[in-house]
Symmetry: C2
DNA sequence: GACAATTATATTGTGCGCTATCTAATTGGA
DNA sequence: TCCAATTAGATAGCGCACAATATAATTGTC
């Protein structure tokens, strides 16, 4: 990358570079995940949903959304596609009919085995030590919290 | 964040945590930028395009795309909306009629002044030292390069 | 018990990012 | 010079993320 859209001259612009770096890193992860998840027939957000359900089947849409920080506007169509792909079954809860419970199908459960290669492929792609990875993740978490706090203050 | 969709137990899963952290940080930046850029009437990707053109007016779609790592599938509709908003003018190049040149309008140029508050607002939200910011950005850049290299190898 | 307030999910609308494809223009090689 | 190969940008299709809104169900208060 020879040029960045943000001038590197003045200190106040440094945070713009950080945002752009996050933006581009996200795109790069998407690119990589598309390749790695192609065999599973999943997109990354779908994979995240499956991860959550593999860990705890039968969660409500709300619970999954809380885990992934996604709202129903994003989740409902995504879940419909997972259902259409035969991986999950959506079921209105008897106890509280506002809720929809998400259940893995047999095909959905079986896909877990196939997904074991995903973190390994990602690890090979990233090619950094666990310390570096953990530290970077922690920094991004702190960054996210700072941003969400600031955004909440502004609204 | 009490739970993550990726189990924190095994080391090979650490990179999934990193990816999720990038994913969530990107969302948080989006949230923040939506607030900060509301007065300008721009989305973040539109803002990036304006940053590039403020720095160098008259670039081709391709040149802008190279700066932002975006292709014409993303850019063309985005540029059309900027044109519709009266901020830019798209003009077919006489020298090479395949090219479209992007020119700022007066309104587009005038918006630059208004945009000066953006990096300051972002800086206040991030609330970290320039050293920390710079280091994090450099790490993300390295991460991105590693991912893109690995994705290229896989295809 | 009645009803306002709240909650859960679905839907609508918009913008984005990417792959695949297309059209027109330009370049490169014979 | 001619034409195949390449390039630039547009378009189509799909999935995602989010704000706003709607509908139905549940909760909380009087």
């Amino acid at each position: 990358m020879t040029h960045s859209p943000v001038p590197a001259s003045a200190t106040p612009k440094l945070e713009e570079q950080l945002c752009f770096a996050v933006y581009l890193a996200g795109h790069a992860f998407n690119r990589m995940y598309r390749t790695v998840l192609a065999d599973l027939g999943l997109t990354y957000p779908q994979y995240l949903v499956m991860l959550v359900l593999w860990e705890c089947d039968g969660l409500s849409v709300k619970a999954v959304g809380e885990r992934l920080m996604l709202d129903s506007g994003t989740l409902t169509p995504l879940l419909k596609r997972l259902e259409a792909a035969g991986l999950i079954r959506r079921e209105r809860s008897r106890q509280d009919e506002r809720q929809v419970r998400l259940h893995l199908t047999q095909a959905g459960e079986a896909l877990r085995e196939k997904s074991r290669c995903v973190p390994e492929a990602m690890g090979a792609a990233i090619a950094q030590s666990p310390e570096e990875i953990g530290h970077l993740a922690a920094q991004l978490k702190a960054l996210r919290e700072a941003l969400l706090n600031a955004a909440a203050d502004k609204s």
